[in-house]
Structures are given as C-alpha cells and as structure tokens.
C-alpha cells in the first residue's frame, strides 16, 4: 500500500478521535439550545469552571484562599488532604448542579419571554462572571489534571496496524477513551430523554414551550435540569481537554471548536453534534495532510469555519437540524 494512503488513513483515524473531542463540547450547546432556545456562550467557560473545581477538590485546595489571605493576612492554601477522584467527580457534579440552580434563579428566571438575543447576551455576561469566579476561587496558575485515564500512543493499535500494513498507526489512548465516554454519554442522554418522566418533560419543552406549560410542566425545573446536564457534559469535556494540556484559562476557548461542529450538525440534534464533530475532525486532518506541503500548516482553526460556511450556503439548519419552513 502506498505510504501516502497509509498516512491519509492514519490522519483519518486521528480526525475521528479528535472529532469526538469537539463533539463533547458541542453536546453541551445542543442540550441547552434544544431545551430553551438559548445559545449558551458560557459553555466553554462552564467546562473550564468544572475542570478547575475538580482539580481544586482533588488537590484539597481551599476555595477563595487568595481572597481570604488578602483580606485577613493569612497563608491558607490547602486543607492538607487530597480527595480521591471517585469522590471529587461527584462533588464537582454537585457544584455544577448548584450552579445550574443559581443560574436559573438569578438570571434565567428574570428573562422569561425575552428575545433570544437578550438571553444570548446574558450568557456572555455569565461567561465573564464565571471566568472571574473561577480565577478568584481556584487561582489562575496552570493545574495538572489526572483522573487516571491512560495517555500516550496506543500500542495495540500500533502493533495491529503494523501487522496489517507494515506501518503502525498513532492513536492517543486518551482520545480512544474519550470516544468510549462520548458513546456512553450519548446513550445515557438518549435513555434519559426517552424513558424517564423528566426526560419526556424535557423533550416536551424542547418541542413546544407553551404546550408543555399548559400541561403543567415546570419550565423553571426543566431549565435547572438542562443546565445541570450541560454542566455535567461540560465536566466531561473539561476532564478530557484538561487531561491533554492541563487546566488553564485557555480551556474556555475550546468552545470555538464547537461552533463549526454545531453549524454542521445542527443546533438541536445530539447525533448531529457527534456527526458534525467527526466531519470537522476528519476534514481538518485530511485537509492539513494534503494541503500542508502547498500552503503550509496551521490550517485547523480556519478550515473548520470554512467548511461550516460552505454548509451554511446549502443547508443552513445543519445536517440534522430542524428544517426551516417559512411561508409568505
């Protein structure tokens, strides 16, 4: 088999796993948009905040210690113990649920029936607030995140592909795990929305707010539920991305990777987020592979948006989005 084909196959495989990482971020956007029509600008910051909180719990860091020290002249930093990951993750989930309750109570409740752009602007404000809160709570230094997930080249894939093609493919084990976790996440979300009372209520609100309200479904509860789930998805994305390069404030920029995925997959479709992520992942890797010798590298950032623009021309609602029908 020619080398170029082998390398292209390797790039495709890596694109698929990278696409899953993008899809993890896009999922949070979809969940909130589907249930409330809000484009949540703060989704990236939610992932950052969740990852910061998880590392803070794991390392036994005292929240707001910098503020406490500045006010009282103390030298507090850590509780003196480390929390096991199995406890730190549920504790972080609780924090994300609490955050969802606070967001609903102090922001969303007051913006019922407002234009989508108002709600969007509110999430921009929320993003800035959460970024500042994360800084004050946990500090701005880079933090190593280790939840026990394996990292590095998968020897199994390397050996298997070497045996087949005489060339070992590189796949990051962390991204393989991310693919597995994303599959579990999507399956769980599907089961939740199809087979539980709350899930059906959530789908009812997503289909028609007014009709759902008329049959007694509490919009406030559904919003808390949606933001809690989005918070948990953000935690998963934060863990995956934070494990790759540490938890630092640039983590919030992963949201930028989700936008073209959403344009491709549609803002209202969970399978769309996954498929969109895979298309973007594979597309950018293959584009870089073939075009790098001609136009140089560093194409990943703009290629995804260019692809999304092309999609917008032909299918503005995305691959799986609800069809836009306007009668005049």
């Amino acid at each position: 088999m020619p080398d170029t084909l082998l390398f292209a196959m390797e790039a495709t495989l890596n694109g698929l796993t990278a696409g899953v990482m993008y899809a993890l971020v896009a999922l949070g956007f979809v969940l909130i948009f589907k249930a409330s029509g809000i484009f949540n600008f703060a989704q990236g910051v939610l992932a950052l905040f969740a990852a910061l909180t998880l590392v803070g719990f794991q390392s036994g860091q005292i929240p707001f210690s910098h503020l406490i020290n500045a006010i009282f002249g103390t030298r507090l930093h850590h509780f003196g113990w480390n929390m096991p990951t199995v406890l730190a993750i549920p504790a972080t989930v609780l924090v994300m649920i609490l955050l969802a309750i606070l967001i609903e109570r102090y922001i969303l409740k007051h913006l019922v029936n407002q234009e989508p752009i108002i709600l969007f602007m509110a999430t921009i404000g929320l993003a800035y607030f959460l970024e500042g809160l994360g800084d004050v709570m946990w500090g701005a230094e880079v933090k190593a995140l280790d939840v026990g997930l394996p990292k590095g080249m998968s020897s199994a894939v390397d050996e298997a592909t070497f045996a087949w093609f005489g060339y070992g493919f590189y796949i990051d084990r962390l991204e393989l795990w991310a693919a597995g976790i994303a599959a579990i996440l999507v399956a769980s979300l599907t089961i939740f929305s199809q087979y539980t009372k709350q899930g059906r209520a959530l789908r009812a609100v997503a289909d028609d707010h007014q009709a759902a309200l008329s049959v007694g479904i509490s919009l406030r509860f559904i919003w808390v539920l949606t933001w809690s789930i989005a918070g948990i998805v953000a935690l998963v994305a934060g863990i995956m991305w934070g494990s790759k390069s540490g938890v630092q404030f640039s983590l919030s920029l992963i949201a930028l990777k989700a936008l073209p995925v959403l344009i491709l997959g549609g803002f209202t479709s969970i399978p769309g987020a996954i498929v969109g992520g895979l298309i973007i992942g594979v597309g950018e890797k293959l584009f870089d592979f073939f075009m790098q010798p001609i136009i140089g590298g560093a194409t990943e950032n703009w290629f995804a948006y260019m692809l999304a623009l092309v999609f917008l021309l032909f299918r503005p609602q995305g691959l799986f989005g609800e069809r836009i029908i306007e009668r005049v």
Binding site: F7, E10, A11, N14, G15, A18, H66, N69, G73, H77, E131, G132, D135, G139, A140, E141, V142, K143, A144, L145, D146, K151, G152, M153, Y170, D172, W241, K244, S245, G246, V247, Q248, F249, S250, L251, S252, L253, I254, K257, E284, K285, D288, F289, Q292, G296, G297, A298, T299, E300, N301, W302
Partner: protein, 430 residues
C-alpha cells in the same frame, strides 16, 4: 457656579498632587493577569513588581527617589495594550515593558514619537538591536534570533560540530512572535547543511494532532519550539505521546517554564529549553526579598510564584530597569529623571559579573554592555533541562554565544528597511 467650584477644586487637587507625582519614578507594568495567557503573565508581573517593591522598601527607592508602580491589564491583547499605553503615556513612564511582540510592534512608532523608552527583553522586534534606527527600543540581553542561533550552536556542540544531513523541525506559534526565528534558522540551514521543516500551530494551540502526526512521519532529528501559553504543554504532551526523544526537543525561553512542563507530569522528563537567566531561589537576593517583601506581606499577587522561571524573568527585567535608572541619574546628575534621561541610562547600561554579584544575583544573567550600535546585549543564553522527578529545571550548559555577526547583518538589513519605509535617517542619539 457649581461647575466653577468643581473646576477650582480639581485644579487645587492637581496642583497639590503634582509635586508628589513628580517626586517619584514611574515604572508602569503592562501585565496580563487575566485571559488565556494569564498563567504566564502573572509570574512575570509578580517578579517585576516584587523587585521594585524591594528597592523601595530596602533602599528607599532609586537615588533616594521612591518608585511608583502602576499596572495596566492587557490580557495579552494588542488593542488593549495600545489602550494601556495611551492611558499612561502622559504620566512620565520611565520605561515600558509590553510583554507581547504584537503590542511591541504597535508601540515602536508611538514611543519613538513620544520619546518613551521601551524594553522588550527576549521578545519583540529583533532588529531593534540596531539603536541607530530604533533609538527608543532596547531588547537586551538577548533576542529571538540570538535564541535560534544559540540552539543551533548547542546542537552543533552535541553533534561534533556538524549538522550536515540532519533534519530540524521548527514548531511555531502562528503569529508574529512564532515566525520570528524562521529567517535565522533558514540562513543557518544554508550554512550548516541541515534541513529545516517549519510547522505552524494556530493560537492558542490546544489542538496539535496534525502537527505531531507530521513530525512522526517526517522523523526530524530535533524539534525546536517557539510556543507560548497552552501551546507549550500540549506540544510536550504530544511529543511524549508519540515517544519523541525528549532530549531532542528544545524550546525557546518562552517555552521553558514550570507552567509548560508540570501539566505533562513524568512525560516531560528530559525536555530542554533556552534560559536567558538563572532560576530558583538559590541567590542571595532572596534573603532580602524574604525580609522586605514576602514576610511583610508586600508581595504582588499571591506570593506563590517566587523563584519560578517567569517570576525570575520579571525580576530580572525590573533589575535591569533599576540599573538603567541609576545609570541615567549618574549621567545627568539628577535623581528625578525623565523618560528621555532613562533612555540615556539604558543606552549606556553596563552589566558586569561584579555588579550582578553585588546585587545578590551572581551568574544569574550574562555580563553585557549596551551601545548605540547594539541595543541587544550579548545575546547569550544557556540550556536548561527539566527533571520531572525533582520537579526542577537544571542548567546543563554555560552561556552559549549566538552567531552575532550573521544576526547583526540580518538586523541591519531589516532595520534599514524600516528606516527607509518611515523616511528616517539612522543616527545615534548620544
């Protein structure tokens, strides 16, 4: 009537405040404590501020005149950096430290016009080394082209003086900063016979899958990195993932701090980077720092960055600024110096090993002197290597000289082109 009273009150306040401000030496800091690059901006800003605080607390200022520090948040954003400059330019800033190549490029013409000196230590426009064109910009003790040349000289020493047939990949931040070493490495490739492979990474650099697949395919002998922020740990992690020999991976000084290696854990063991100064707290100055700044609670930030690489760099930048101010006072015979006098101090700065030892920083930085023809110092740097077990950087070489003859030739060409574009006649100011 009310307006008149308000105006009178304001005028009185300004008159009263005027002498107080004039009796201080204003050292502004264009810092970034927020945004995606905050992790690198905070320790530098802390080190810069703590050293100036030490000079105030221990020595009562410079030549008896207290230092006044101000900080303006740029978030590593060029537009905000320019806004910061506009807000402080009328407040007698003695020297600007933009801490961003993008901001530096924007401020070079402005500071030339306003007569405010700028120090871009290890970043910014490399050809500012030519003081005949860039009268107000200084980039001592080393610049990017020096850094690239030092890396190649180090690799030459590792390969018995020959890089013939070797392949070197440059993994760079796709920005003005990251592209700076390309001309130097290209010129040196022609001279030493190695093949140069340039691989860009878009900012911020969290996703580098394609780049490292390419590195795996191309199998370079060495990878040189010009990264910043999250690009650095991501690259080091990816290198560890593909099992690239870490001792053959060398970063510039902006890719060689604790923030870059700690998130990678054991995988970063053996990674190398340039060092333009020493690091750690094993210097006599830290006894004073502890006594006058840390123990008294007058430290900047949270006080937990002391001794880290980027804290040391901020401290070093402040030390060089203070020594230039002393030189300016000596030249002009006045304690309350102006920005123009400060420029003269910087243009005649001389750092000797004796002076460094006297300041409590023996062997911390290279000895160098500044002149009109050379605003860039010695250009020397050392190589440091990360020990993941001890979680510390170890210096593994002495100071390495760059190929200054070639760099000065390139700098001359670039700076004269700048002068021609701007209808300037190159000349020394002193």
């Amino acid at each position: 009537m009310k307006m008149t009273r308000l105006a009178a009150t304001l005028a009185a306040t300004m008159i009263a405040a005027g002498p107080a401000l004039a009796d201080t030496l204003h050292f502004p800091s264009l810092s970034y404590r927020t945004g995606p690059f905050a992790a690198g901006g905070i320790p530098f800003a802390d080190g810069y501020s703590d050293y100036l605080t030490l000079i105030n607390e221990r020595d009562g200022g410079i030549g008896g005149v207290p230092i006044r520090q101000t900080e303006c948040e740029t978030a590593y954003n060029t537009e905000r950096g320019v806004e910061c400059y506009q807000s402080i330019r009328g407040d007698n800033p003695l020297v600007l430290q933009p801490l961003s190549t993008g901001i530096t490029y924007q401020l070079i013409p402005r500071t030339m016009e306003d007569g405010i000196p700028m120090h871009t230590m290890g970043y910014g426009r490399t050809s500012a080394v030519n003081g005949e064109v860039f009268n107000w910009t200084f980039n001592y003790p080393a610049n990017y082209w020096d850094g690239a040349s030092v890396i190649i000289n180090y690799l030459l020493s590792e390969n018995d003086g020959s890089l013939e047939g070797k392949k070197i990949a440059l993994l760079y931040h796709n920005s003005a900063y990251g592209r700076e070493p390309i001309p130097t490495l290209t010129n040196l490739a022609e001279r030493h016979g190695y093949e140069l492979l340039t691989i860009g990474v878009d900012s911020p650099g969290q996703e580098q899958g394609s780049q490292w697949l390419q590195i795996r395919r191309e199998r370079p002998d060495y990878v040189v990195m010009w990264g910043w922020g999250v690009m650095n740990p991501t690259a080091i992690q990816e290198a560890a993932n593909i099992r690239f020999p870490m001792e053959n991976f060398i970063g510039v000084w902006w890719s060689g701090s604790q923030q870059d290696v700690l998130p990678v854990g054991q995988g970063a063991h053996g990674y190398k980077a340039l060092a333009m100064h020493g690091t750690g707290t094993d210097y006599p100055i830290y006894a004073d720092m502890q006594q006058y700044v840390i123990d008294t609670g007058k430290y900047a930030g949270t006080g937990d960055e002391v001794g880290t690489v980027l804290y040391s760099r901020g401290m070093y930048a402040a030390m060089l600024a203070v020594e230039a101010a002393k030189k300016a006072q000596e030249i002009h015979g006045v304690a309350a110096i102006t920005p123009a006098m400060m420029r003269d101090g910087m243009a005649n700065l001389e750092i000797t090993e004796e002076l460094m030892a006297e300041l409590g920083l023996p062997n911390f930085g290279p000895a160098f002197s500044v002149s009109c023809n050379n605003h860039g110092g010695s250009g020397q740097a050392m190589i440091q290597q990360w020990d993941a077990n001890a979680r510390e950087w170890n210096l593994i070489t002495d100071w390495i000289d760059p190929d200054r003859e070639m760099i000065m030739e390139m700098a001359m060409e670039d700076s004269l082109a700048f002068a021609a574009e701007n209808n300037m006649t190159p000349s020394c100011m002193n």
